[in-house]
């Protein structure tokens, strides 16, 4: 059976007054029961700090993702649960409020009368329903102004009966005579319309207003009513966090149906340690006559005294709070269970689209870099030349470089990122969406490609019930384009600059060894020296000594040509070594592209949403485990009280 949270009418019941003003008047557990041992509950029974931590984590978790509709629902449910948990913690020592519930005619009022020791609530078989306003039975010295029941018109009755000395007993209206569907089951066919007495029957509404104030439910059933659907609906809605006493009434008339009822309750998710069986009429008669109670009733009174009074009351309240927390997290998990797969599908889709876009980017960058081979080579040579100084060969290289500078540099493109980077500049900031898309086209990512990825992800996100504002639309707005594409360009620019710099330095270091330099300088200087020696020999020995005529400029011109050719040959040899393997360099650069996360800004909203939702679901799992662990550590401490099992399916 699906357990629904307390219905809206329940939540609209008056909120409990602040405890500070209540505490002085709160009836405390009798000193006899609480004395000495009142606070000796071992930590194993209930670890407050662990529970506090659990509540804190639940609170944080439930409000962590206010923009995600499934999480919003969790948060709304937490809003209803949290005050109860808080109250349970603050008012540990207060007496328990026991709500007597059950179908009409099951003998609720009769039992309340028997417990109160006199007729406090009208009972009988004259008309159904009999109880139309709640009746609150309290001991004479107890102030019950803190009970949030004003709106229900509840009548307060004082009793000296020992059975109600340490509890507050509420005779609740029935859930099964009001027409229409319970709040938990709205939407099915209604009842025939018309003006009838039952049209004014508000018993179920009243019941739903009373039950939030109750700490424990005393569920009464007869052979005719223990399988009543309307009663089961109400009990399921209010049982989370409220331990129960199960009682079969009409013991003298009805057969013993306790075994079958137990099976029914267990099928509904209840733990049923015990079901009491009483004859309310006989008990009330004996109570009024001052006779010994009949055994079934005596057992019930004993159970109330042992299970709900004094130290036991604290235990019950703590167990109830823990059950409630466990139920909440279990319910939330159940509601969120179907979202795990879509959230994972979104993450997988995100990885795939990222890969696709990176593939496009890598392809375009590779093509561009290959096509920009001259610029790429120039960078490397410039880098080397800049570092070589002194010596004739270095001078020769510098001269060539200076001459080359006169020539228009062979640019890779028309101002794109890669061209700018290869030209030694940084990426220029984008000024408009159109300009942004134009710049980004150069690196292979068209508007259509980005939109395709985003559209696919919008579909996947919608399956995970993610929409705006957590994720954007498929088409980026003007401002989004400027920021996301701008970031993409900036990142790509700096990534390229860093990568290319690293490669250039690496490549340069291959030839930038002193030995290479010395060899080059020696070889170049050798020819130069040879030319100078030859010219000197010719002049000093041939002309001055032997008196031969000076050889003309022809020799020098010839020598210069040879010198230049020699220099160029040496330069080619040096740079050939530099240039070889540029393709390999480009590959190694692109291999590092996925780690750079260049396309992330384009899909950042989806990545963030997928991460947040996955974290939310994971934390839900961890909290369920924590609640179950805490419950296991606390153990079964409620004796003969029944409980709705924790929400974990």
């Amino acid at each position: 059976m699906a357990h629904s949270p307390p219905s809206p009418s329940a939540s609209s019941a008056p909120a409990p007054k602040p405890s500070s003003s209540l505490n002085p008047s709160l009836p405390q557990a009798p000193s006899s029961a609480a004395s000495g041992a009142a606070d000796d509950l071992s930590p194993a029974l209930f670890d407050d700090s662990r529970f506090d931590e659990l509540v804190l984590r639940l609170s944080r978790w439930s409000g962590a993702l206010p923009d995600w509709p499934p999480a919003r629902r969790t948060s709304a449910e937490w809003e209803q649960i949290a005050p109860r948990l808080e109250r349970a913690r603050r008012e540990l020592s207060r007496v328990l409020v026991v709500g007597v519930i059950g179908g009409t005619g099951t003998g609720k009022s009769t039992l309340v009368n028997a417990l109160a020791g006199r007729d406090v609530s009208p009972a009988g078989d004259v008309a159904r329903p009999t109880t139309t306003t709640p009746v609150v039975v309290v001991a004479r010295d107890v102030d019950c102004a803190w009970l949030p029941l004003e709106a229900t018109g509840a009548r307060v009755v004082r009793s000296d009966s020992p059975a109600v000395a340490n509890i507050v007993l509420v005779d609740c209206p029935d859930p099964d005579t009001q027409s229409g569907q319970p709040a938990a089951e709205q939407g099915a066919s209604g009842s025939p319309s018309g003006s009838r007495a039952s049209d004014t029957n508000r018993n179920r509404d009243l019941l739903e207003a009373v039950l939030p104030a109750c700490d424990v439910l005393l569920l009464l059933a007869t052979a005719q009513k223990y399988r009543s659907w309307s009663v089961a609906q109400e009990v399921a809605a209010f049982a989370p966090g409220r331990p129960l006493l199960f009682v079969q009434s009409h013991a003298s008339r009805d057969p013993d149906i306790r075994d079958d009822w137990r099976r029914e309750l267990e099928a509904q998710g209840f733990l049923v340690p015990r079901i009491y069986r009483v004859d309310g009429l006989e008990a009330a008669r004996r109570a009024q006559a001052g006779l010994e109670p009949e055994p079934g009733f005596a057992e019930l009174v004993r159970a109330i005294d042992e299970e709900l009074v004094g130290r036991a009351a604290r235990r019950v309240r703590r167990t109830g709070a823990l059950d409630l927390a466990e139920w909440f997290v279990g319910q939330s998990r159940q509601q969120l269970a179907g979202l795990r797969e879509p959230v994972e599908a979104l993450a997988a889709g995100l990885r795939q689209e990222r890969l696709r876009l990176e593939g496009l980017l890598a392809k375009a960058v590779e093509e561009r870099l290959r096509a920009s081979r001259p610029a790429w080579q120039r960078m490397i040579t410039d880098e080397l030349v800049d570092r070589w100084h002194g010596g004739p060969f270095a001078m020769f290289l510098h001269t060539l470089s200076a001459i080359g500078a006169f020539w228009p540099r062979l640019r890779a493109g028309r101002g794109g990122v890669i061209s700018q980077v290869l030209a030694g500049g940084a990426a220029a900031p984008v000024t408009s969406a159109h300009a942004a898309w134009q710049s980004v086209e150069e690196i292979g990512l068209g508007e259509a490609d980005v939109e395709q990825s985003r559209s696919i992800l919008v579909g996947l996100a919608a399956r995970a019930r993610l929409g705006e504002p957590l994720v954007g639309r498929a088409r980026l707005s003007e401002s989004q384009v400027q920021t996301t594409v701008g970031t993409l360009l900036e990142r790509t620019g700096s990534w390229l600059v860093a990568g290319i710099d690293r490669l250039v330095v690496d490549r340069r270091s291959r030839v930038d060894a002193p030995v290479v330099r010395m060899v080059c300088e020696s070889l170049f200087s050798g020819l130069l020296v040879a030319v100078l020696v030859r010219a000197g020999w010719n002049f000093f020995h041939g002309h001055l000594w032997l008196g031969k005529p000076v050889e003309g400029l022809g020799f020098l011109e010839e020598a210069l040509v040879w010198l230049i050719l020699w220099g160029l040959l040496l330069r080619w040899l040096v740079f050939a070594r530099l240039r070889r393997g540029i393709d390999r360099d480009i590959q190694s650069l692109l291999a590092r592209l996925p780690q750079a996360g260049l396309v992330d800004p384009l899909l950042a909203d989806f990545a963030s949403a997928a991460e947040k939702t996955a974290n939310f679901l994971d934390e839900g799992e961890r909290l369920a485990a924590a609640a179950a662990g805490l419950a296991a550590a606390t153990g079964e401490i409620t004796g003969n009280l029944g409980r709705l099992r924790g929400g974990s399916p």
Binding site: S179, R227, D260, A448
Partner: protein
Amino acid sequence: MSPGLPPVSPTPTSAAPGGAPATLPTGYQAWAANVGELCGLIEALRPLGAALGVPDPTGTEWYGQLFGKLRPQVTREAVLVAAVCGGTNTGKSLLTNVLVGSPITQSVPEAARTRCPVASLPRGMAGRIDIASLFPGFTPHEWTGTEDSLGGGAEGDDLLVWREDPGGRQPPRLILLDTPDVDGTLRENWHRAELVRNACDVLIAVLTQQKYNDAAVRDFFAAAAAARKSVIVVFNMVDWPRQRERIGGWLRTFTAETGIEPLAVYAAPHDFTRAEAGELALFALPELASGMTPGLIPAGPIAEAQVDLAATLAGFDFDRIKLRAMDGAFRVVLDSRSGAGGWLDAFESSAQQWQEAKRLLADEARVRVDLPAAPRELVWNEIWNWLEPRRSTLDLTVSWAYRKAGGGVRWVARKVGLVRTEEERREDFSAVELKALKQALGDFIERLDGACRRSERLADMLGGVLVGGDRAAWYADLERRHAALPIVSEHYQEFVRGELDRFSRENPEMVRWILTGLNVGAVARPAITVGLGLAGAAVVPAAAASAGGLSVLIHHAGDVVVGTAATLAGEGALGLTMAGLKPLIERLFAGWSAERSQVLAETLHDVVLGGRLDEIDRLATAAARPEVAQVRRLLFECGREFT
């Protein structure tokens, strides 16, 4: 009252009890035929109603009465069905056994144990009637033992156990049933009880002081009262005689709440020992029953004559009760708000909403595709190919020489990298075109999303596609179709030839001009509009709509219409000098572009939307179906006869 129904007699007729069926009134056959036709039509419309989003009528009172009561009985032997109904553990099974005179259903202390109805048929009836059609919704199952009733069957598999009366004491036309509860935690029991309630004529309401005013019990019997079923009330588990005085008050509450006028009222004292022995004492309370005939019901205990209630039932005027029940059932069906008419109203109003949704879709889901300029030589090549056989030798020679020379120049230009090759240009074009188509697909998805936000109906129909659809597969499909599309298809070549042939027939003079003065014109970027063709020609721009060949393309796409608006511009446009040629060239380019964007239309139709557009169209026209008018007519006629 139904047409020609005999006046209701307050005393048993000669036909009852049992014996031959009463003579059917005049006009009854026509009435029965109307009911049969009405049922057939409603059954035929029901799937369409479900598709329209109209709430399923199968759970409603009128549907239950029409199909559970009227249809099974209008054309069959008039049997009287009496069912024992009530809340859990009120003693229904015990009472049934007492009425039948032998245990046919297990009476146990536990509640809600009767999971399926048990019917006791008079001897020999099983061979005469079709039990399945008498109790629609149930699968009949022959009785093997009293525990049959406890088995039930899974939800959706509703069993009805039947047995013929072994003693032969049961009146020949009376069927008695034990039914599951109407208020327990097993909701399928409620459903089964409702099916039995619809099918029966007489309900024996088993009430207790705990349950007579429970909402679930009240609602169950109020529906029976609305359908004018005859009801016998048995107050069970009465603290007799202490509570005898109370019963009047309880009954007043019950009748006031449900509108039931009981035929008879009985009280059964609470006696656990006798109940365990399968016995039940019944006391008649004639002073409380409006329909009770003094003298017919014996006063005082009738425990010793346990079949007496059954005998009393047998003593009733079967035809009167039956006609009353059928009359009541028909009233429920004809109720203008909660009856079949109400369902039909919802049907029509839903169809109207679908019509609006269809209009919205036609207005909203229309995307302009900005295709790149067509490589003009593609179209011109086709024109040249057509012209080739029509040109003079000299013309061809000159043209050949020019082409060779031009080819040489282009070869050089390509070699030095100044001009891209034709292959490269086509690749560039294809890439840009694919991007434009993808962007259009993205636009389309957004627009559909927007339309869904504005129309709940569309959200129901298309929301699943937009949320659950594999969008990556849509894009992949578009890419696949685009890759498979040749740059000039045979279909297009045929289209060009057809257009030019037609043109040359109509304008022989102009063709001469073309042959001499044809020049290359530049074509501006064509704008294609792809829309869901629900608004018809409105989506198709004039230029395209007038093109005969294009309409073929349009029809190929089924519901998705591709329209083309191509404009010609450029220095060489012949349109400037030859007004008549411009539309032709436009059509040729438009045809080419339309074929290109056809792939988008196909993806949208085949992969993204599937058959949903046809479905929307079907739903939007649902109200105009002849069956709807026929149901209206039948309801009107039946209603007229009724009043």
